[in-house]
């Protein structure tokens, strides 16, 4: 059957059904609504101030690709007066991150935003491939999560950024809220639904309770995953969607299915879950408020004597003694990291490797490669 007319302009046939409101809109109105909704989140939560230098955590995936593109558009249109930078974390997973970095390299050109890359290898002396060899496939996501969060912060600091922006969307937030409810974790419940952490001068604490040195903002926090994917498609944005080689993929499986199922039944349910957590004003038990100091080993911001990353590095050293002959594993301190921070060179190296990996025979699944 033919699609109905657009509910906004009433002149073009509708191309998409908005998931939250179940209203049909044409392609042009969809794009306009999407952008103004993200703008409304940015304004209502005061996510940016003129002069901000914003490091966008860019993975090459759909969320961060759309985030970079839409922030670029809105910054021009609404004169935010902010500077946008792409910051990628290279976990060191051959065949996975190499390919997705190619996508980010493309974004740098397409969106005209400077790209920098920090790697686990640079910061911690270990790539994820090496970590998996040492610890196997159990707990490897723990390492990756702790390292990524800190690496994003450290990278952003090296860039002189004032804020870190990530691509978390409404579906992610609803999943996190429900996970925290099932765990009875009210302290995290209170902050996981917020579009920002650390903006009001308090140190940013993340969904998992880690501390960040810079405020974190999530401009897509109220945007549905369906809309993000449609926006990418309607604008022909290139993104990378291969699953991480090491992710079991089942960690959030049930909650993820549940969120998608309630969305089918009631479009606004996803935002309602997020809104419920926001409105609850949970009083976190006093004892859980982390006292912030410096990690004894690396000197980086930490809520414990030794930061989580250094804890994990010690565990790795115990598994593979002598692996780092030069010294016991510790993340580079900031001046060491700055010295090792030759981001552009790394990107170019990686891009070179990735493009020859498939031999250009057309069997490569990488969109950037296929296009070439």
């Amino acid at each position: 059957m033919a699609p109905p007319l657009c509910s906004a302009c009433a002149s073009a046939p509708a191309a998409a059904l908005r998931p939250a409101t179940r209203t049909p809109v044409c392609r042009a109105c969809f794009i306009a609504q999407f952008e103004e909704e993200v703008h409304a989140t940015i304004v209502s939560a005061s996510l940016f101030a003129p002069g901000d230098r914003v490091a966008i955590g860019a993975s090459g995936g759909k969320d961060s690709t759309v985030l970079a593109y839409v922030l670029g558009e809105l910054n021009k249109r609404h004169n935010y007066g902010i500077e946008l930078l792409l910051l990628s974390i290279d976990e060191g997973i051959a065949g996975y991150r190499d390919d997705s970095l190619m996508t980010v390299v493309q974004n740098e050109t397409d969106y005209n935003m400077p790209l920098s890359v920090v790697s686990y290898k640079q910061l911690y002396g270990w790539s994820m491939d090496e970590i998996v060899k040492a610890v196997g496939l159990r707990n490897n996501c723990t390492f990756c999560g702790v390292f990524r969060r800190q690496a994003l912060d450290r990278g952003a600091e090296l860039l002189g950024a004032t804020k870190v922006a990530t691509g978390h969307n409404a579906d992610d937030a609803a999943e996190t809220v429900l996970l925290n409810v099932t765990r009875g974790d009210t302290a995290r419940l209170a902050r996981c639904a917020s579009a920002s952490t650390g903006l009001s001068g308090d140190r940013a604490a993340g969904d998992e309770g880690e501390v960040s040195s810079l405020p974190r903002v999530k401009p897509l926090m109220r945007t549905y995953e369906k809309d993000i994917v449609l926006y990418a498609r309607f604008n022909r944005l290139k993104y990378f969607s291969t699953e991480c080689t090491y992710a079991p993929g089942a960690a959030r499986g049930h909650v993820r299915d549940f969120v998608k199922n309630i969305e089918r039944l009631r479009g606004d349910a996803v935002m309602s879950v997020v809104g419920s957590a926001e409105d609850m004003h949970v009083v976190a038990p006093k004892t859980t408020a982390p006292k912030l100091g410096k990690c004894r080993v690396c000197g980086y911001l930490a809520s414990r004597p030794v930061c989580k990353a250094c804890d994990l590095l010690r565990e790795l050293d115990r598994k593979l003694p002598g692996r780092r002959a030069e010294s016991a594993s510790a993340p580079l301190n900031n001046s060491e990291a700055a010295a090792a921070f030759d981001a552009r060179k790394l990107v170019v190296e990686r891009a070179g490797n990735a493009s020859t990996a498939c031999g250009g025979g057309g069997v490569c699944t990488n969109e950037v490669c296929n296009k070439a």
């Binding site: 191309a15 498609r233 699944t365």
Partner: protein, 105 residues
């Protein structure tokens, strides 16, 4: 009689179809339908389900007689929720895209 369709898999779904992104499908017309009516989306999904080689991969795209929640379907670049969903009728030369929203971030 069969209907010729251009079917695209993306957002990670290509992985369960031998990494093919753009495919051409010839879908047999059901006996209850005349060739002019084409084939229904229901028939196309059944046709595609048979091409997924690993049984454990089927649930990455399909659930019951429809797609798994989180998989978007576009018929000639229009959301299938606006064209009749599983009862959408497809004709020779139509383009159908299956886009997973479940991968990456």
């Amino acid at each position: 009689m069969s209907t010729r369709l251009f079917v695209e898999f993306t957002g990670g779904l290509e992985a369960i179809f031998d990494n093919q992104k753009q495919t051409e499908q010839h879908v047999a017309t059901e006996s209850s339908q005349t060739p002019q009516e084409g084939v229904s989306m229901r028939t196309l999904l059944r046709h595609l389900g048979k091409q997924i080689k690993k049984p454990q991969d089927v649930q990455l795209m399909l659930a019951g007689d429809t797609v798994r929640p989180g998989v978007l379907v576009l018929v000639n670049e229009t959301d299938w929720e606006l064209t009749g969903g599983i009862d959408t009728m497809l004709n020779d030369g139509d383009c159908v895209a299956f886009v997973s929203t479940l991968h990456g971030g």
